[in-house]
Amino acid sequence: MLAAAVGAAALYPIAGCGLFGDEEDKSQPPAPDPLAPLLAEALSLASQHEAAIAAFPALAERLTPVAAAHREHATALTKVIKAPAPSASASSASPAPPSGDEKSTLGALRSAEQKGQKSAAQACQAAAAERAALLGSIAAARATHLEVVR
Protein backbone atom coordinates (compact mmCIF):
# COMPACT_ATOMS: atom_id res chain seq x y z
CA MET A 1 0.00 0.00 0.00
CA LEU A 2 2.74 2.40 1.05
CA ALA A 3 4.90 1.32 -1.87
CA ALA A 4 1.99 1.89 -4.27
CA ALA A 5 1.37 5.35 -2.84
CA VAL A 6 5.02 6.30 -3.07
CA GLY A 7 5.19 4.91 -6.57
CA ALA A 8 2.15 6.90 -7.68
CA ALA A 9 3.50 10.05 -6.04
CA ALA A 10 6.84 9.52 -7.69
CA LEU A 11 5.25 9.24 -11.10
CA TYR A 12 3.47 12.57 -11.08
CA PRO A 13 6.48 14.90 -11.07
CA ILE A 14 7.92 13.03 -14.04
CA ALA A 15 4.74 13.29 -16.03
CA GLY A 16 4.22 16.93 -15.11
CA CYS A 17 7.68 18.42 -15.15
CA GLY A 18 7.82 19.10 -18.85
CA LEU A 19 11.13 17.52 -19.72
CA PHE A 20 10.24 18.13 -23.33
CA GLY A 21 9.37 21.70 -24.07
CA ASP A 22 6.69 20.92 -26.62
CA GLU A 23 4.77 18.84 -24.11
CA GLU A 24 4.39 21.65 -21.65
CA ASP A 25 1.20 23.02 -23.24
CA LYS A 26 -0.43 19.61 -23.24
CA SER A 27 0.10 19.30 -19.49
CA GLN A 28 -1.92 22.47 -18.92
CA PRO A 29 -5.43 21.62 -17.77
CA PRO A 30 -7.95 22.42 -20.53
CA ALA A 31 -10.26 25.39 -19.99
CA PRO A 32 -13.25 24.25 -17.93
CA ASP A 33 -16.33 23.36 -19.97
CA PRO A 34 -19.21 25.86 -19.55
CA LEU A 35 -21.32 22.92 -18.39
CA ALA A 36 -18.97 22.03 -15.52
CA PRO A 37 -21.05 23.97 -12.95
CA LEU A 38 -24.22 22.21 -14.15
CA LEU A 39 -22.53 18.83 -13.69
CA ALA A 40 -21.46 19.80 -10.18
CA GLU A 41 -25.01 20.93 -9.45
CA ALA A 42 -26.49 17.63 -10.69
CA LEU A 43 -24.17 15.70 -8.37
CA SER A 44 -24.97 18.00 -5.48
CA LEU A 45 -28.74 17.65 -6.06
CA ALA A 46 -28.38 13.86 -6.16
CA SER A 47 -26.41 13.90 -2.90
CA GLN A 48 -28.94 16.17 -1.19
CA HIS A 49 -31.82 13.85 -2.13
CA GLU A 50 -29.83 10.79 -1.05
CA ALA A 51 -29.03 12.40 2.31
CA ALA A 52 -32.72 13.24 2.80
CA ILE A 53 -33.70 9.64 2.02
CA ALA A 54 -31.12 8.36 4.52
CA ALA A 55 -32.45 10.69 7.22
CA PHE A 56 -36.17 10.20 6.44
CA PRO A 57 -36.80 6.73 4.98
CA ALA A 58 -40.49 7.63 4.57
CA LEU A 59 -39.45 9.96 1.74
CA ALA A 60 -37.65 7.19 -0.15
CA GLU A 61 -40.50 6.31 -2.48
CA ARG A 62 -40.90 9.92 -3.57
CA LEU A 63 -37.25 10.98 -3.71
CA THR A 64 -35.45 7.89 -5.00
CA PRO A 65 -36.48 8.41 -8.65
CA VAL A 66 -35.54 12.09 -8.35
CA ALA A 67 -32.09 11.29 -6.97
CA ALA A 68 -31.64 8.69 -9.74
CA ALA A 69 -32.61 11.27 -12.37
CA HIS A 70 -29.93 13.67 -11.12
CA ARG A 71 -27.36 10.86 -11.30
CA GLU A 72 -28.45 10.13 -14.89
CA HIS A 73 -28.14 13.82 -15.74
CA ALA A 74 -24.61 13.82 -14.32
CA THR A 75 -23.69 10.79 -16.43
CA ALA A 76 -25.09 12.41 -19.57
CA LEU A 77 -23.32 15.72 -18.85
CA THR A 78 -20.05 13.91 -18.19
CA LYS A 79 -20.39 12.34 -21.63
CA VAL A 80 -20.90 15.63 -23.52
CA ILE A 81 -18.26 17.47 -21.48
CA LYS A 82 -15.88 14.55 -22.13
CA ALA A 83 -14.67 14.90 -18.56
CA PRO A 84 -13.42 11.89 -16.66
CA ALA A 85 -16.26 10.21 -14.79
CA PRO A 86 -16.71 11.91 -11.42
CA SER A 87 -15.02 9.74 -8.83
CA ALA A 88 -17.00 8.10 -6.07
CA SER A 89 -15.16 10.18 -3.48
CA ALA A 90 -16.03 13.44 -5.26
CA SER A 91 -19.73 12.63 -5.37
CA SER A 92 -20.03 11.11 -1.90
CA ALA A 93 -17.97 13.72 -0.10
CA SER A 94 -20.73 16.29 0.34
CA PRO A 95 -23.87 14.61 1.70
CA ALA A 96 -24.15 16.09 5.13
CA PRO A 97 -27.27 14.91 6.93
CA PRO A 98 -30.13 17.40 6.59
CA SER A 99 -30.22 19.71 9.59
CA GLY A 100 -33.98 20.19 10.03
CA ASP A 101 -37.08 18.02 10.21
CA GLU A 102 -38.78 16.34 7.26
CA LYS A 103 -40.75 19.42 6.29
CA SER A 104 -37.81 21.80 6.27
CA THR A 105 -35.72 19.20 4.41
CA LEU A 106 -38.34 19.05 1.66
CA GLY A 107 -38.39 22.85 1.60
CA ALA A 108 -34.62 22.97 1.14
CA LEU A 109 -34.83 20.38 -1.64
CA ARG A 110 -37.52 22.42 -3.40
CA SER A 111 -35.35 25.55 -3.28
CA ALA A 112 -32.41 23.57 -4.66
CA GLU A 113 -34.58 22.18 -7.49
CA GLN A 114 -35.90 25.66 -8.31
CA LYS A 115 -32.40 27.07 -8.47
CA GLY A 116 -31.28 24.06 -10.51
CA GLN A 117 -34.15 24.50 -12.95
CA LYS A 118 -33.09 28.09 -13.57
CA SER A 119 -29.45 27.24 -14.13
CA ALA A 120 -30.32 24.38 -16.50
CA ALA A 121 -32.67 26.68 -18.45
CA GLN A 122 -29.94 29.32 -18.71
CA ALA A 123 -27.44 26.70 -19.87
CA CYS A 124 -29.91 25.47 -22.50
CA GLN A 125 -30.49 29.01 -23.72
CA ALA A 126 -26.75 29.65 -24.09
CA ALA A 127 -25.77 26.24 -25.48
CA ALA A 128 -24.66 25.21 -28.94
CA ALA A 129 -27.31 23.37 -30.94
CA GLU A 130 -25.92 19.90 -30.24
CA ARG A 131 -26.27 20.38 -26.47
CA ALA A 132 -29.62 22.17 -26.40
CA ALA A 133 -31.90 19.11 -26.33
CA LEU A 134 -30.09 17.42 -23.43
CA LEU A 135 -30.04 20.64 -21.41
CA GLY A 136 -33.71 21.24 -22.19
CA SER A 137 -34.60 17.80 -20.84
CA ILE A 138 -32.58 18.45 -17.68
CA ALA A 139 -34.37 21.78 -17.14
CA ALA A 140 -37.74 20.11 -17.74
CA ALA A 141 -36.91 17.23 -15.38
CA ARG A 142 -36.02 19.65 -12.60
CA ALA A 143 -39.33 21.46 -13.21
CA THR A 144 -41.20 18.16 -12.79
CA HIS A 145 -39.31 17.41 -9.57
CA LEU A 146 -41.11 20.35 -8.00
CA GLU A 147 -44.34 18.42 -8.55
CA VAL A 148 -43.21 15.49 -6.41
CA VAL A 149 -40.81 17.13 -3.93
CA ARG A 150 -43.40 18.63 -1.63
Binding site: A68, Q125, G136, A139, A141, T144
Partner: protein, 141 residues
Amino acid sequence: MKPEALSAALEAEHAAIYAYGPIGVRLDNASAADARQAEAAHRTRRDALVLRLTEMGTSPPAAAASYTLPYKVTDRAAALKLATEIEERTAAVWRAALPETTETDRASALAALCDCAVRATRWRRRAGVSPATVPFPGRVT
Protein backbone atom coordinates in the same frame (compact mmCIF):
# COMPACT_ATOMS: atom_id res chain seq x y z
CA MET B 1 -33.48 28.99 -37.70
CA LYS B 2 -35.58 26.39 -39.47
CA PRO B 3 -39.35 26.88 -39.67
CA GLU B 4 -39.86 23.10 -40.06
CA ALA B 5 -39.29 22.52 -36.34
CA LEU B 6 -41.89 25.15 -35.44
CA SER B 7 -44.33 23.76 -38.03
CA ALA B 8 -43.95 20.33 -36.43
CA ALA B 9 -44.62 21.89 -33.02
CA LEU B 10 -47.75 23.58 -34.41
CA GLU B 11 -49.06 20.29 -35.80
CA ALA B 12 -48.50 18.63 -32.41
CA GLU B 13 -50.33 21.49 -30.67
CA HIS B 14 -53.30 21.12 -33.06
CA ALA B 15 -53.48 17.40 -32.24
CA ALA B 16 -53.19 18.06 -28.49
CA ILE B 17 -56.03 20.58 -28.57
CA TYR B 18 -58.20 18.05 -30.42
CA ALA B 19 -57.39 15.22 -28.00
CA TYR B 20 -58.34 17.17 -24.88
CA GLY B 21 -61.97 17.17 -26.12
CA PRO B 22 -62.58 13.43 -25.70
CA ILE B 23 -60.24 13.39 -22.68
CA GLY B 24 -62.17 16.06 -20.77
CA VAL B 25 -65.56 14.36 -20.93
CA ARG B 26 -64.22 11.19 -19.24
CA LEU B 27 -62.59 12.92 -16.28
CA ASP B 28 -63.74 13.69 -12.75
CA ASN B 29 -64.36 17.37 -11.98
CA ALA B 30 -60.91 18.15 -10.54
CA SER B 31 -59.10 16.47 -13.41
CA ALA B 32 -61.44 18.03 -15.97
CA ALA B 33 -60.48 21.47 -14.68
CA ASP B 34 -56.82 20.55 -15.21
CA ALA B 35 -57.67 19.32 -18.71
CA ARG B 36 -59.33 22.66 -19.54
CA GLN B 37 -56.26 24.52 -18.30
CA ALA B 38 -54.00 22.23 -20.32
CA GLU B 39 -56.09 22.75 -23.44
CA ALA B 40 -55.98 26.52 -22.94
CA ALA B 41 -52.19 26.37 -22.59
CA HIS B 42 -51.92 24.43 -25.86
CA ARG B 43 -54.17 26.98 -27.59
CA THR B 44 -51.90 29.79 -26.40
CA ARG B 45 -48.84 27.97 -27.80
CA ARG B 46 -50.71 27.31 -31.05
CA ASP B 47 -51.63 30.97 -31.47
CA ALA B 48 -48.06 32.09 -30.80
CA LEU B 49 -46.73 29.58 -33.35
CA VAL B 50 -49.20 30.72 -36.02
CA LEU B 51 -48.03 34.31 -35.50
CA ARG B 52 -44.35 33.40 -35.46
CA LEU B 53 -44.51 31.21 -38.59
CA THR B 54 -46.45 33.90 -40.45
CA GLU B 55 -43.86 36.46 -39.37
CA MET B 56 -41.15 34.16 -40.79
CA GLY B 57 -42.97 34.02 -44.12
CA THR B 58 -43.99 30.38 -43.71
CA SER B 59 -47.56 29.28 -44.10
CA PRO B 60 -48.62 27.74 -40.75
CA PRO B 61 -50.06 24.24 -41.11
CA ALA B 62 -53.80 24.15 -40.42
CA ALA B 63 -55.47 21.76 -37.99
CA ALA B 64 -56.98 18.61 -39.46
CA ALA B 65 -60.77 18.31 -39.26
CA SER B 66 -60.30 15.35 -36.95
CA TYR B 67 -57.54 13.11 -35.64
CA THR B 68 -57.45 9.37 -35.13
CA LEU B 69 -56.96 8.64 -31.44
CA PRO B 70 -54.63 5.73 -30.63
CA TYR B 71 -57.45 4.00 -28.71
CA LYS B 72 -61.01 4.68 -27.59
CA VAL B 73 -61.28 6.99 -24.61
CA THR B 74 -64.13 5.25 -22.81
CA ASP B 75 -63.25 5.83 -19.15
CA ARG B 76 -61.17 7.89 -16.72
CA ALA B 77 -58.17 5.55 -16.91
CA ALA B 78 -57.99 5.80 -20.70
CA ALA B 79 -58.45 9.58 -20.53
CA LEU B 80 -55.54 9.97 -18.07
CA LYS B 81 -53.39 7.66 -20.17
CA LEU B 82 -54.07 9.61 -23.35
CA ALA B 83 -53.53 12.95 -21.60
CA THR B 84 -50.12 11.72 -20.39
CA GLU B 85 -49.19 10.51 -23.87
CA ILE B 86 -50.32 13.75 -25.50
CA GLU B 87 -48.08 15.76 -23.18
CA GLU B 88 -45.16 13.36 -23.72
CA ARG B 89 -45.55 13.63 -27.49
CA THR B 90 -45.82 17.41 -27.45
CA ALA B 91 -42.80 17.58 -25.13
CA ALA B 92 -40.80 15.51 -27.63
CA VAL B 93 -41.65 17.85 -30.50
CA TRP B 94 -40.68 20.92 -28.49
CA ARG B 95 -37.45 19.25 -27.39
CA ALA B 96 -36.65 18.56 -31.04
CA ALA B 97 -37.15 22.27 -31.77
CA LEU B 98 -34.41 23.31 -29.29
CA PRO B 99 -31.37 22.62 -31.52
CA GLU B 100 -33.15 24.29 -34.45
CA THR B 101 -33.87 27.54 -32.60
CA THR B 102 -32.01 30.37 -30.88
CA GLU B 103 -32.84 33.30 -28.62
CA THR B 104 -36.56 33.94 -28.07
CA ASP B 105 -37.63 30.99 -30.22
CA ARG B 106 -35.50 28.67 -28.10
CA ALA B 107 -36.79 30.26 -24.90
CA SER B 108 -40.37 29.60 -26.04
CA ALA B 109 -39.55 26.02 -27.03
CA LEU B 110 -37.89 25.40 -23.67
CA ALA B 111 -40.82 26.89 -21.73
CA ALA B 112 -43.20 24.71 -23.76
CA LEU B 113 -41.09 21.60 -23.11
CA CYS B 114 -41.06 22.30 -19.36
CA ASP B 115 -44.83 22.94 -19.28
CA CYS B 116 -45.61 19.71 -21.17
CA ALA B 117 -43.29 17.74 -18.88
CA VAL B 118 -44.94 19.17 -15.76
CA ARG B 119 -48.43 18.37 -17.09
CA ALA B 120 -47.35 14.82 -17.99
CA THR B 121 -46.13 14.41 -14.40
CA ARG B 122 -49.43 15.72 -13.04
CA TRP B 123 -51.43 13.30 -15.22
CA ARG B 124 -49.23 10.38 -14.11
CA ARG B 125 -49.87 11.34 -10.49
CA ARG B 126 -53.62 11.46 -11.07
CA ALA B 127 -53.42 8.06 -12.75
CA GLY B 128 -51.41 6.68 -9.82
CA VAL B 129 -48.42 5.98 -12.08
CA SER B 130 -45.16 5.70 -10.13
CA PRO B 131 -42.68 7.19 -10.60
CA ALA B 132 -44.53 10.24 -11.85
CA THR B 133 -41.35 11.72 -13.32
CA VAL B 134 -39.00 10.62 -16.10
CA PRO B 135 -35.27 11.47 -16.15
CA PHE B 136 -35.24 13.06 -19.62
CA PRO B 137 -38.63 14.57 -20.52
CA GLY B 138 -39.18 14.73 -24.27
CA ARG B 139 -36.42 12.29 -25.11
CA VAL B 140 -37.78 9.57 -27.36
CA THR B 141 -36.35 6.27 -26.21
